[in-house]
Symmetry: C2
Subunit: 263 residues, 2 copies
């Protein structure tokens, strides 16, 4: 399948490809303008605490949809999608251990599964590019920023890092991303990476970018909450079972980022 052909597809057309296994790689750049979603699926027994955790740590865990127990269809953002099949690749955890990375989680789905869909920063990145904001993305990192606990869930925030050419670009990025509250909203930190526990900006531990050229002296570093956070938290809590997407292999929803933006 040629990536340029896929790029022109509607979200529903693309999800058919993922459903049949014809597309099992990353989704970056596909269906431009549409919100892509991180996924964390937990049993109903843990769903209230997990909901509370996401709510209390909104900038990392900003929700775009939450399903009723057992329902694999995200009614708010993609009612025709099937969360068991429509992501290109999944990760399955038992007791906090990775046991499988399938292209379909139908065999692991249960009647008590609740899916949490978490927005992705690609939405506000598109808006920043449209506004000619000059920036580059260095990937996703773990930090030492503590999260507000809820029930068995706690830990440290994952962030995405971007470098900006000028103060003007950085200010515009704060303004623009603030509108996208379902996709992490405003930055959580402006300053030096080492202040929040990031030691090597050229090798992102969660989602590295390739061929990163050295940071220039006047580039301003800003950090946004990252949708991998709830997944990491659920893994750390060693739930008996938890389903998620493989990094970068997202659900493509029917909602445009601008449809969900505030103001």
């Amino acid at each position: 399948m040629n990536k340029d052909d896929v790029k022109k597809m509607s979200p529903n057309e693309f999800r058919q490809l993922a459903r049949t296994g014809e597309w099992s790689t990353k989704t970056a750049g596909l269906c431009p303008g549409y919100v892509q979603s991180n996924l964390a699926v937990v049993p109903k027994e843990y769903a209230f605490d997990f909901f509370l955790f996401c709510y209390r740590n909104w900038q990392a865990c900003s929700l775009i949809d939450v399903t009723e127990p057992g329902d694999p269809h995200p009614k708010l953002v993609a009612p025709e999608a099937d969360l068991r099949t429509d992501l290109p690749r999944y990760r399955v955890f038992k007791d906090g251990e990775l046991i499988d990375q399938p292209t379909d989680v139908t065999e692991y789905w249960r009647d008590d599964m609740v899916a949490f869909l978490i927005g992705c920063s690609w939405g506000f990145e598109g808006a920043m590019k449209a506004a000619k904001v000059q920036f580059r993305t260095l990937g996703d990192f773990t930090t030492n920023i503590p999260l507000v606990p809820a029930g068995p869930f706690s830990g440290y925030m994952a962030v995405s890092m971007r470098l900006f050419k000028s103060s003007h670009d950085a200010v515009r990025a704060v303004q623009i991303s603030s509108r996208y509250t379902p996709e992490h909203g405003a930055p959580v930190y402006i300053g030096e990476p080492e202040d929040i526990g990031i030691t090597d900006i050229y090798n992102a531990d969660l989602y590295p970018h390739e061929n990163v050229h050295p940071r220039e002296k006047n580039e301003i570093a800003m950090f946004w909450g990252c949708g991998i956070t709830p997944q990491l938290t659920a893994i750390n809590a060693k739930l008996p079972i938890m389903l998620s997407h493989l990094g970068g292999h997202m659900l493509i929803t029917d909602k445009l980022a601008d449809e969900l933006a505030v103001l």
Copy 2:
């Protein structure tokens, strides 16, 4: 207790008055600038579905805090407050029937109680006044706007209604209220009251205002989601027990409306 003396108090000082029963009337105008909160308390058994309901109907049920089961302290917005005693007056429902309107719900509190705190439009009203937006409030009404169901919770939205002198005032009101996403955010409807099932604007069925003078020909009507909505929904679901505030007898939090605003 003189209202002018009380107005100058800090939220914590005021809550002491409510706690001891020295203040058991409405809270409108007290502690200006601080977010006042609607309350709905449900047993843990229903908490996930109720959380989902609030999330799916955010403009009516915008949350400013949710507590862990049994914890009477809203840690995010007023950690020193006690939700069992610090509202001036409560309503207690069993199986959907009102059984008590006490100034203290300690005797009804249980280890599995989860409190949902819902922001109040007085926050964006203050910001509108500060910006010299000309408007008047006609009270809170039931409508025929259907809510998105979740579990046993469904129904119709309650709204607050305001009239604006000019298009300019109406536009500014949309802009300003949009910033206050934890306090209902932007309007849900612009247009004629009868379009959404409101038949008598001078006698609000949920929270009437007194001495309302007739609507002028060019006044623009706008409607915002109202924090009574989740309480009404929980009553309709006939939960075995549900605690809430009496209309207008709110929790005063430690958060300024401008602290919680976006952008």
